[in-house]
């Protein structure tokens, strides 16, 4: 085991997979970053420090700085994947999927289906998402709900450095397109990571990070830590929470959710995306549909309101889910009568 940051887990996994498989290539805006500057190509190494050193190690044929065009990045990744490479494309901000939506939605997600299963598109599209940095409405969004709704894509939202390692490796080695969502506020968090160069976590297997029999709290990414904090606090009152880290929103580990709800009968879904037609609504619908008879209270969502993300720091923190809001929701389902 090694203790490392979330961002270091991203970088080291890419590094190890590029060493293992010469078909793995990286492309994106400023993944090299210093081209043409006085400091040399590696002067910057990606604004999230998730590609530092790759260019020195693997050179310009495998680490490609692209123009500022998300359509071009994803389009190129699609072409590389169809022709046998394993591209890892990086979108600096998940908010920019709109620019490349045709490439993601109509092309990458559908190649295998449209060609009768005779082709595969093993592309990984990494993107940084999430709010909390006072970065306003166009650079703070959580886009997993849009992408999870697109059949043909696998959507991964790792929470811990170890999960980054295991899930990113699975993503790179997977023969289907994978969206890999990295929360900006998690990049500097640290955790124990297995050293095994073949450590993989299969998709669609949620992680039970806290176990208890009274309430099921479901989340993934940054907010999972808040859910754990609530579970730890309520433990002192004798209230047991199952905290489920989904890890992947597509495929969805329906079994872990239903198994938990069949015991607890109470569900709180915590999500950073707005409430309409989102992950929270989706999971509430799932338990209402398939575990109706077990429910002791209506399933609740804790999400931001249905508005763009505010710029002002105070408004942004009021907008986002918090430990207090999650605790209030848990108490509400417990108090339901």
């Amino acid at each position: 085991m090694s203790n490392m940051m979330y961002r270091a887990a991203v970088l080291s996994t890419i590094m190890e997979e590029m060493e293992r498989d010469p078909n793995v290539v990286v492309l994106g805006e400023d993944v090299v970053g210093g081209m043409g500057t006085e400091g040399g190509p590696e002067a910057i190494g990606g604004i999230w420090s998730t590609s530092t050193g790759l260019y020195d190690r693997f050179g310009a044929t495998r680490v490609i700085d692209t123009p500022i065009s998300e359509s071009a990045i994803v389009g190129a990744a699609a072409g590389l994947a169809l022709s046998g490479k394993r591209p890892i494309a990086e979108l600096m901000f998940a908010d920019f999927i709109g620019v490349s939506l045709d490439q993601i939605w109509n092309q990458i997600a559908k190649f295998r289906y449209m060609f009768g299963g005779k082709t595969r598109c093993p592309a990984v599209i990494r993107m940084a998402y999430g709010a909390g940095y006072n970065a306003a409405a166009q650079h703070s969004q959580s886009v997993h709900q849009i992408l999870t709704g697109m059949p043909g894509l696998k959507v991964v939202m790792p929470t811990t450095p170890a999960d980054v390692k295991g899930l990113l490796r699975t993503a790179i080695r997977d023969d289907d397109p994978v969206i890999f969502l990295e929360h900006k506020a998690l990049y500097a968090t640290t955790g124990e990571v297995p050293d095994d160069r073949d450590f993989m976590i299969p998709f669609g297997h949620a992680r039970l990070s806290r176990a208890g029999g009274d309430v099921t709290i479901i989340s993934s990414g940054l907010l999972l830590g808040m859910c754990e904090a609530v579970a730890d606090k309520l433990k002192g009152e004798g209230i047991g929470c199952d905290v489920i880290d989904l890890r992947t929103t597509s495929p969805l580990d329906e079994e872990t959710i239903l198994d938990s709800v069949e015991v607890t009968g109470r569900v709180v879904v915590v999500d950073e995306a707005p409430p309409r037609c989102g992950l929270g609504a989706d999971l509430c619908a799932l338990v209402a549909e398939k575990a109706f008879s077990s429910l002791k209270a209506p399933p609740l969502q804790v999400t931001p309101p249905h508005t763009p993300i505010p710029f002002a720091r105070e408004l942004e923190s009021a907008y986002l889910p918090s430990v207090d809001k999650i605790e209030a929701a848990v108490r509400r389902v417990l108090a339901w009568r």
């Binding site: 079994e255 239903l258 069949e262 398939k290 008879s293």
Partner: protein, 464 residues
């Protein structure tokens, strides 16, 4: 499907939670006919004979005669048609669940260990959730026919519960003829209500957004209580407005509950002719310039009677009786804060005019909520008068530590027999005396009431 039926512990009456099977009158394996005596069941109250309601064979007895009491709904035996195999009976018992669970929660918990058959392990390749498997094994359900609602046909707990439940017979409302959307710009709910009440929405002016006809617009048209023929009464939500006890009410509640629970009340009813007092009061008020009410005269009369009967003019403190020479008469007053009982001090020593001034001051203070504790403390007797509300007569709760209270009803005209034997009318006042028997005996209270009655009927003595 063989006609296998359960025979359960019956429920005779709301209070019955369990019964004891005293004797079987049909042996296991024997055939019985409708109307035949099946068994005897004892409850805490009676022993009942149970007659068969149909022809069958008593296929299996699960509770033998003389076994300990069983909760209502417990499976006592299984009946079947002749020729039903033991395996079929076993299978029936395994999945049987009482149709009407007992209403007594204690009975429910006691029932748990009784009929639950030992779980039967299920060997299957089907994907199934742990809770679902647990339930299926406990209830002996065959899971193979279940179509799992989970991913890839996985069986959920809900699937197993649905398989165990009897088929639902939903009560359907059916379809309604709605006004076409194009003909009326109205909300779906408004159109539904219009259809239910047979209202034509064309020409109705909507008050909703952009002139849309809303539920309120339609309800305004049906507001007149002319429901459609056969339309069922639809209760509206009727949530209570919850008002916590305030300080005064808490005290009133606590003291009166204590009084009613601890004091052995007895009640003496009488009535007094009021005509003399009414006549005297008119004159006296003119002469004295006083504004004494009938109640003020009653306070004076009661105080004088109490002074003459000191064994009624008492308070009860634990095992002691406090006897007073002078009468402090409390009067019950309805104030904005609730019932208060200010005290007219030594009313036997005050004139009616003085009493009238004292009560007027106390009532003003009570209505303003400014009564002090001193105004209400003590008291050796109480008078509660509801006559002004037209109450004919009532019984009052004693206000401890006092030992008696007089409830005064309305003055009412009544037919009476005159001294010459002819019939006439007089005004009578109903009096009910509530007495604490710990301190006052019936005869003493009766003598007091007789004196009081005499003072009211010959009111000149009130000015003595």
């Amino acid at each position: 499907m063989p006609d296998i039926r359960p025979f359960c512990m019956p429920k005779w009456g709301i209070e019955m939670t369990e019964g004891t099977l005293a004797d079987w009158k049909v042996a296991e394996g024997d055939t019985f006919a409708k109307g035949q005596l099946l068994c005897l069941i004892e409850t805490s109250k009676i022993t009942n004979e149970v007659e068969a309601e149909y022809d069958a064979v008593l296929a299996r007895v699960l509770v033998p005669a003389g076994a300990e009491a069983q909760p209502v709904g417990t499976l006592l035996a299984v009946t079947a048609q002749a020729g039903t195999s033991a395996e079929e009976i076993d299978a029936f018992i395994a999945v049987f669940r009482p149709a009407n669970a007992p209403t007594n929660p204690n009975a429910a918990t006691r029932e748990e260990p009784a009929p639950a058959p030992a779980p039967r392990p299920i060997q299957t390749n089907r994907a199934i959730s742990p809770e679902a498997l647990k339930l299926a094994e406990a209830s002996g359900l065959d899971i193979e026919p279940i179509e799992g609602s989970g991913r890839h046909g996985r069986i959920t707990l809900q699937d197993v519960q649905q398989a165990l439940n009897a088929p639902a017979r939903p009560v359907l409302v059916g379809t309604l003829a709605l006004a076409e959307e194009g003909k009326a710009f109205a909300s779906p709910l408004a159109r539904r209500i219009a259809a239910q009440h047979g209202i034509d929405l064309s020409g109705v002016k909507g008050t909703g957004p952009r002139g849309r006809i809303s539920k309120a617009d339609v309800l305004a048209l049906v507001a007149t209580p002319a429901p459609m023929q056969g339309a069922a009464f639809a209760p509206v939500p009727n949530p209570p407005a919850i008002v916590p006890f305030d300080r005064v009410r808490k005290v009133v509640a606590q003291r009166l509950t204590q009084a009613k629970q601890e004091i052995p009340h007895f009640y003496l009813r009488s009535s007094a002719r009021l005509d003399e007092l009414l006549a005297l009061r008119k004159t006296a008020n003119l002469v004295l310039g006083a504004r004494a009410s009938i109640n003020d005269y009653l306070v004076r009369a009661a105080a004088l009677a109490l002074a003459r009967h000191p064994d009624v003019n008492v308070q009860v403190h634990g095992a002691t009786i406090h006897r007073f020479a002078h009468a402090d008469v409390a009067i019950a007053v309805a104030s904005p804060n609730g019932l208060v009982t200010p005290v007219v001090r030594q009313a036997d020593r005050q004139s009616v005019t003085q009493i009238a001034q004292a009560t007027a001051a106390l009532i003003d203070k009570a209505k303003a909520g400014r009564l002090s504790l001193g105004d209400m403390e003590g008291g050796t007797f109480s008078i509660s008068n509801l006559g002004m509300f037209g109450v004919e007569e009532f019984t009052a709760i004693i206000n401890p530590p006092q030992a008696a209270i007089l409830a005064v009803g309305a003055a009412a005209r009544a037919v009476c027999e005159r001294p010459d034997g002819s019939a006439g009318f007089e005004t009578r006042l109903a009096l009910t005396l509530s007495v604490d028997h710990r301190a006052i005996d019936g005869a003493a209270a009766a003598q007091f009431l007789a004196t009081l009655k005499g003072l009211i009927e010959a009111p000149e003595a009130l000015f003595a």
